[in-house]
Symmetry: C2
Subunit: 234 residues, 2 copies
């Protein structure tokens, strides 16, 4: 039997962790370091790696996150396999990966996982020994491989999740939140500006969002009312 | 650089085509032939194959269906990547695949696609030169690899699709149908018996299902009323 490369794509897993901090949707990224023309450069990528021969892909995703960030998250949901041959069209990506794994890489298919997390919660603390950080969705740089596309599709998944079960939003907001915070969150998820007046009507139609008898304190602008989720009504 | 097998799973695509015929949910399967201890045997599997080195996985799924059944279906939806190392625990599966592709197979990850189709529609005609057939879901034999599991998860996807958009059901029913036909369909999709009386109440609550002024003709039992989908109401 031959061992030619005709049928040999390499397989990786990549994890999109999405959280909200300071009213900004953020993505967990790790640093990639390489040398091009004798100059060292850093850029960013999703936490991910090639799977090992005996490794279940779901387990690989969970362990990758732990290895690269110290985060122990077992709620990763597989959402899509990215398998365009163009994924390895940038020679910089291929060279970096070939150096990292000491293998020739012809083609790389990745299985993408996602999870919505509370940034700062104990189980989501990034171990400081890793060069991982939360980067605002609106300020993502050009990432390795097709990782920008993978993140875009993960946000599309969040839209679907919200339509099926709005409780997902509660992980992306503080326990009590203002209408502005909720609107900013929707604006980032749907990537468009939302009209203030229409949005107040929309909030009233969301039966699972309850107005509280409580307003912001110690603010320079007019104190805004707080809202909370009524999980029983979802 | 080494070319060892540590990071080398093989990658395939498999297609689950689901239709309904004679009130039975059916899955499109192809025949697999092999020889064990000098005896030839046949069994069945989903249409699928290893992807080629330069092939996009979505395009591979579409072409695989055409190659193995003659069906030209571009609405295949990727729904899950199956990547347990146990997928190749049956030596019969490994040997068959190794003979088919003339390669050593250590591990096989598959990306599964699905589509709900109208059996008998022109675009879904199986070319008779292929050994493909529609097999009732309730009569599936033990299939190759984990193909029984893949089908089970595809049916789970149909449940989700129906909850989001019941129009999916209209592809699985004739233009006009009886309450019994609809109930039998639900029983197969949800894999449980459904109480007749509760089901009649359920139909009334489905605003997108309209009672017709028409009943079955030339039947030996009491003629049942016909219903149809009102696509505008979905």
């Amino acid at each position: 039997m031959t061992n030619n490369n005709k049928y040999y794509p390499h397989l990786s897993v990549d994890c999109v962790l999405i959280g909200c901090e300071d009213d900004q949707l953020k993505i967990l990224l790790v640093e990639r370091t390489d040398v091009v023309s004798n100059e060292k450069y850093n850029d960013k990528k999703l936490p991910g790696r090639l799977i090992y021969m005996e490794e279940d892909i779901d387990e690989a995703a969970i362990s990758v996150l732990k290895e690269y960030t110290g985060i122990d998250n077992s709620y990763l949901k597989q959402f899509k396999c990215f398998g365009s041959p163009k994924r390895t069209s940038d020679p910089r990506d291929v060279r970096w990966l070939e150096n990292a794994v000491n293998l020739q890489i012809g083609r790389l298919v990745t299985v993408a996982y996602m999870s919505i997390v509370k940034i700062g919660a104990r189980s989501n603390k990034i171990d400081s020994k890793f060069k991982a950080s939360w980067v605002p969705l609106t300020k993502l740089p050009q990432l390795a491989f097709d990782h920008n596309l993978i993140i875009e599709e993960a946000i599309g998944e969040i839209r679907k999740l919200i339509e099926n079960d709005p409780i997902v939003l509660s992980d992306l907001l503080p326990t009590k939140f203002t209408a502005l915070q909720l609107r900013r969150l929707f604006e980032q998820i749907y990537n468009k500006e939302i009209d203030v007046r229409n949005f107040h009507k929309k909030i009233k139609s969301m039966k699972y969002i309850v107005e509280l008898d409580e307003k912001e304190e110690n603010v320079s602008h007019r104190a805004a009312r707080y809202y909370k989720f009524d999980k029983k009504k979802i």
